[in-house]
Symmetry: C2
Subunit: 259 residues, 2 copies
């Protein structure tokens, strides 16, 4: 599908143009909607919303609708005449009355293929909704890292990576993934400018890249998930580049960018 | 002088007690004054307020009073019958009518010894004033790193390192210094718990420790200072452990903890 490409010429064709800026926001709370209208925003919630969304799209879900509350989810479910799957969590656990929780392993092809999914999570879907005004809104995680970075580069706009964090506070797993992307951008583009937060994330990634699963295990949210018997989710979320789908947010829905 | 020591026993004497928590706030804006009443807070503004404060105390200044605005500074100056030095900056430059700017090199012994200094800076003094409700409030920078960490450990409370940042946004130089402190705490104490932000800062420090001056040079604020001809300040602020003074905030003033 067509997206808003910022320039009709590819970035690499214009060596003298202004450097493309790469920035990272550690939480969505700091985002000013008026400041992202001309940017490509990459939403990250490694544990687990964006990992789950990428998996659902990879496994053939038609689209996902991110909502902020369970009430909003149930209302929309009725409006869609129950032709949808309710997925998501509160405090890491499946919401009462929902079909699925927020574990990658639940979003199998046999369950989600061709289906609409209404999704409510504590941090990830809130981050998506906070960034609706972005020029381009892309969903990424370790599973689709390189595909997602390549897609964003093609858009040619300044890039803001938004970490979903943990209810307004910093989450290291999102920042390390942001750093992995900054690293890919640096390898694939020459004329870029990294903000302090982008530099910081790249340093975290350099320190963690040899053991992403170990990083997830020692993160605060990783330890919480282990504590509620969801350690397997960490193993699934740590896999790198096993998918080439790039989910994007377009007119209220998260769809496959190839759609 | 006596401070509020959280426990009459030293930390290392109690192997079975709760781990001491080490946290980092990337900006003072996220601080809830009600959450720091039982903590030791370390204020950091590497470029340049806390580096300058440590230098002023090292060179014999009686005390500093941090204020938020130039107007507040001038008013206090009159109240003190002009028996004080006005120091600080706006946009990195000396404030009109002030005696000194915010460069370490200005705060020599011959100028500050025995004097009171009224200080206004954009980020550092604001951070100090935002954390007045802390149980203990300590001022640190690379110059007094180890002395400052040892002093804080003796206090025995949970530790929050507050980065002053840049007008509400992340500054990498403060975070790298926070990571240097997390590293020292980890070396000197066994029973500690690091939050995600503390872990992240330690990773940044591991990536930067071989060239702190290089890190300051590539930071956003460092580049700005170079641009306004203040590169020498970066060289002075990058020196490690050249001072053993530990400035603390006590009853409205920043004083030497040995006082």
């Amino acid at each position: 599908m067509l997206l808003n490409i910022c320039s009709s010429l590819s970035f690499s064709a214009l060596p003298n143009q202004k450097p493309l800026k790469i920035d990272v926001a550690f939480t969505p709370e700091t985002i000013d909607p008026l400041n992202i209208y001309d940017k490509s925003v990459l939403i990250v919630d490694i544990l687990r919303a964006t990992s789950t969304i990428v998996t659902a799209i990879e496994n053939g879900a038609s689209y996902l609708i991110p909502v902020n509350t369970p009430e909003e989810a149930f209302k929309l479910y009725e409006q869609l005449n129950k032709n949808a799957i309710l997925g998501g969590e509160i405090e890491g656990k499946r919401i009462k009355g929902f079909h699925l929780g927020n574990s990658i392993s639940e979003y199998t092809s046999s369950i989600v293929k061709g289906k609409a999914i209404i999704m409510r999570t504590t941090n990830g879907t809130r981050a998506i909704n906070a960034c609706k005004s972005a020029k381009n809104l892309v969903i990424g995680c370790f599973l689709n890292k390189t595909a997602c970075c390549r897609y964003i580069i093609e858009l040619g706009c300044d890039i803001l990576i938004v970490c979903s964090g943990k209810e307004g506070s910093f989450g290291i797993e999102d920042a390390v993934f942001a750093g992995a992307c900054v690293n890919v951008f640096g390898q694939l583009m020459s004329n870029i400018e990294k903000t302090d937060s982008a530099l910081a994330c790249e340093m975290m990634y350099q320190q963690s890249k040899s053991d992403i699963l170990g990083l997830l295990r020692k993160s605060e949210h990783g330890k919480y998930l282990i504590n509620i018997s969801l350690e397997d989710d960490l193993i699934l979320c740590a896999k790198e580049d096993i998918s080439t789908v790039v989910p994007i947010y377009f007119e209220g829905k998260i769809i496959n960018s190839d759609q």
